[in-house]
């Protein structure tokens, strides 16, 4: 056997006279035993039970053929409801080792269960839990967050139970804008395990955002299918976040441990799965105000731009007007220069008869006739005196 070969080939160096010390042998034996066994579940009858003042338990487990010494430390036996009496059949979970000081082979017991029906179930549960643990399915890092606003919720439960009614009531009150897909299954007794596994598998084909699997409270036996390793694995295989909601507060099922969220009751699962409408209305109202506000500030910006544009326009217009004014001034200066009044300024006078006609020739002036002379600052009346020609 490999162990024996190891013992002799790779052990510590022997003492000066070629023999092992006792401590070397027991130490080596412990190393080999510790390395050779995983924790085990062992069934046997308790015998020679003794509780020391330290609180540690010492006893043996035996069956028809053999017996083995056991120790259960105080920190571990605290979880056992009462010390076992001699003769009681139990399951223990423990690890074989060697107590070096006594050279004694013994089991360090971590857990102890009675072998009655409850104990059998508990044993199965512990074994299932250990298997799930090994596969990493109990890792809290696996847990996914629930969607904030689901549109489709898959519910796997009994179609007749109060659990379904409670869940629909809560969802309908909080957030009715969802579609609930009910996958009816039995949740206890024959066929429940199989139906639950099927329904959980089917969830992946429904494009649901989130799922709830559960049932209302009941006896330990009623809830037991939710401790099935198969059901727990089916829960773990659901591709969307899933809530496990089994029974009442004090029950913790295996499905609770693999689900993304454990709800103490189906109603609590429903509370967790949908948002609160009142809260959502507040969020939407806030966004509506921001939306309106953003356009107001945008029109304010627009108004400011428009005002600036008008200013520029007015500036441009003013320039234009000024230009025109200058041109007008120039034109009027020229007009001014051409004005007959200017000629008068230079010392000329205009003669007109009483009809206002300009008298340009001597023929127009008959002796004794009256006319008017216009000079720069007004008219004077005049009379022709006589002939010059």
């Amino acid at each position: 056997m490999g162990g024996e070969l190891d013992l002799f080939s790779s052990g510590p160096p022997s003492s000066s006279d070629g023999a092992w010390t006792v401590a070397q042998v027991t130490s080596r034996a412990r190393q080999l035993i510790d390395a050779g066994f995983h924790p085990l579940w062992i069934k046997g009858e308790v015998t020679g039970f003794k509780q020391y003042r330290s609180g540690h338990w010492y006893f043996s487990l035996r069956d028809a053929e053999a017996q083995v010494r056991c120790v259960m430390w105080r920190t571990d036996n605290r979880r056992v409801s009462q010390p076992p009496e001699d003769g009681l059949q139990v399951f223990v979970e423990g690890r074989p080792t060697v107590w070096e000081e006594r050279g004694e082979f013994r089991i360090t017991v971590k857990r102890m269960l009675p072998t009655d029906a409850g104990g059998q179930w508990e044993l199965q549960l512990q074994q299932a839990k250990a298997a799930l643990e090994r596969d990493g399915l109990l890792d809290p890092a696996r847990r996914r967050p629930l969607p904030e606003f689901p549109t489709r919720i898959a519910i796997i439960t009994s179609p007749d139970g109060a659990a379904l009614h409670d869940m629909l009531t809560v969802i309908g009150r909080r957030w009715p804008a969802v579609e609930v897909l009910l996958l009816p299954t039995r949740v206890q007794g024959d066929g429940a395990e199989r139906e639950l596994c099927r329904a959980l598998k089917l969830v992946n084909d429904l494009s649901a955002d989130v799922a709830i699997v559960g049932r209302g409270g009941g006896s330990r036996e009623d809830l037991w299918v939710f401790n099935s390793e198969k059901v727990a694995r089916a829960v773990a295989a659901v591709e969307v976040p899933i809530i496990s909601a089994v029974g009442h507060e004090e029950d913790v099922a295996l499905t609770d441990l693999v689900a993304d969220l454990r709800a103490p009751t189906p109603s609590a699962a429903a509370e967790a799965v949908v948002p609160d409408r009142g809260e959502a209305i507040r969020v939407v109202d806030m966004l509506a105000r921001r939306l309106g506000g953003s356009l107001t500030s945008r029109t304010r910006l627009g108004r400011e731009r428009l005002a600036r544009t008008v200013d520029r326009l007015q500036g441009a217009m003013a320039g234009q007007i000024e230009q025109r004014t200058t041109r007008l001034a120039m034109v009027s200066a020229r007009l001014d220069a051409l004005s007959p009044l200017k000629v008068l300024e230079r010392g000329f006078a205009v003669a007109r008869n009483d009809k206002g006609e300009v008298l340009k020739s001597t023929k127009s002036f008959t002796p004794g006739s009256d006319f008017r002379l216009t000079v720069t600052d007004g008219d004077v009346r005049a009379r022709v005196a006589g002939e010059d020609t």
Partner: protein, 74 residues
């Protein structure tokens, strides 16, 4: 199965629109377009909030024996 419009999606888009509008770099044409879409999204979100009737459908397939046994038994 077709899904109903998602409140979450409407809300997310609405938030993006408001953020966009609050950013003064967006030009006025684009801003008006965003605003119109925002009003539309707001209406959709409010419609969903006003729903009062929960839709419940039973997926009877779950109870049928149309899945091979080995799907669940191993």
């Amino acid at each position: 199965m077709t899904k109903r419009p998602s409140f979450g999606a409407e809300l997310e888009r609405l938030e993006a629109i408001v953020r966009g509008l609050e950013d003064s770099e967006v030009d006025l044409d684009e801003a008006l377009e965003l605003f119109q879409e925002g009003v539309e999204r707001l209406k959709n979100a409010r419609t969903l909030l006003q729903e009062t009737e929960l839709t419940v459908k039973k997926v009877v397939k779950a109870a049928d024996a149309d899945l091979p046994d080995d799907d669940v038994d191993d």
